[in-house]
Amino acid sequence: MMALVDCNNFYVSCERVFNPALEGRPVGVLSNNDGCIVARSNELKALGVEMGTAMHLLPPPIRRQTVLLSSNYALYGDMSRRVTEVLATFSPHVEVYSIDESFVGFHGFDPAMLETRGKRLRDTVRQWTGIPVSVGVAPTRVLAKIANHMAKKHPAYQAAGVCRLDADSPTTRELLKQLPATELWGVARRTAERLNVMGINTAWQLRQADPKQIRQRFSVVQERIVWELRGQPSIQLDDMSAPKQQIMVSRSFGRLTGNPHDLREALRHHAARAGEKLRKQASVTSAVMVFVRTNPFRTDLPQYRNRVIVSLDRPTDDSRELIAAAVEGLRHLWRKGYRYQKAGVMLLDLSPKANRQLTLNETPQTAAEAKRSERLMAMVDKLNRELGKGTVQLGLPRQGNAWALRSERRTPRYTTQWSELVSVKL
């Protein structure tokens, strides 16, 4: 069994920890470039404000009662790490899926105690960090995702914040029968449309489908979803795409390594790959999360996991800037004396490239510079597509170049630097 632990309205919850006056009020967190709402409190959701709404399009009556905040990724990254640390006290097997979601392995625990354990986990995260979480317990990732959704939204589970779905319980059957296949994790809209043509509309119908047929008509991943719905673990985290608004690239090393150059190379590669994905969906990012960890199962070795968020002072889709950010992040994370198993890069605060605006304190890129960067990236992507991944790799920008200068003027890292303190409104 495993648990999917998801922080409720994560960015807003982080802000509320340090400013309790925000409790019970409609609160929205804005992306730091184009003024779109990227996180909403329940009160703001109840007012009918959709994710991604541009700030200037908020109706004045709603605008007046809403607290709108700029995003503070240094704070969110730090709180995210604290949550993961608490989770790690409940199980050695914690896999970070996004900035606010983690899978926690419950292998070997007494099955009868899992709900109690889930509740204790939830209470402990709440007390230690102030962040409310929902917990979905199930035998597979796909079912855990559904269980988590139930823990958050279903009146029967909401109060406890924990929902457990066993593979063959009547409850699971009922829920799967009501759940449209479109809402399943890993089922794209187009796939769902084709499933509908085959007469598969609900999660239950997909579970009853012939796995071989699903593989032939769709893909191996879709087949695995069928097995997962039946309660048979088949999906690795790397098979699933990260949630919208985030791009994640990470991989385990073939062997444990204590060599900083291995980590640097891996992170440069991941940052470049993340840049490709970013450009493919025509977006820009303004915050790069970098994370490293050792192998939690090697209890004979010293354990370390850490992450840091590098804020960019202007949104970009340029792999060179992402690589520089990843390397900068590694400088903060690197500790000697550990054997590392995994490193990764997550791009946060994505927004469409087309409608981006300059922020007040951003260094404008000249049109020529932007054009050149765009042409270069397009060519790099094309070569890598046609001649194989990694054909063209990007070197590191020189020290003391424009990038390094610009990063000196980033917004204060309120909770992570003695010299950049935050004052809580009193």
């Binding site: 006056a21 402990t124 960090t129 500790r335 992570t416 630097q417 003695w418 303190l421 009193l426």
Partner: protein, 149 residues
Amino acid sequence: MSLSVSLLGRADPTAIPCPLPLFSSAVRAGFPSPADDHLDTDLDLHRHVVKHPAATYFVRAEGDSMIGDGIHHGDLLVVDRSLEALPGRIIVIAVDGELTVKCLERVGQRAYLRASNPAYKPIPLEGRESHVWGVVTHVLHSLPGAPLP
């Protein structure tokens, strides 16, 4: 409620230890003993003070209501959220949306926030929106001559 707090920063759970030499005899005024020449071990003040890194936060005290407990205006407080708020403990608590520092007291069924400065009256929690934020475990008070952070 005139002792309030502001958030300073987090306790870095992975801070590189800053070992300080431990001398085998207690600090005394006067000349050091020659026996102090050998070191026993290294001391890491951060680890000594921060027992639960994921739950520990640093905040800045503003006000004079807790002077009796040795908390001065401008002091740095170490707050551990993993500890239980028991009567007699100094806690950070959100009252009506504002973070404050007081001593938790219980009289019968009623909870009070007690200041340690006679100029301030106890605050009954009854009828107020409040939730405990954490337990203050240490006060770092700088004396004249301390280098500025």
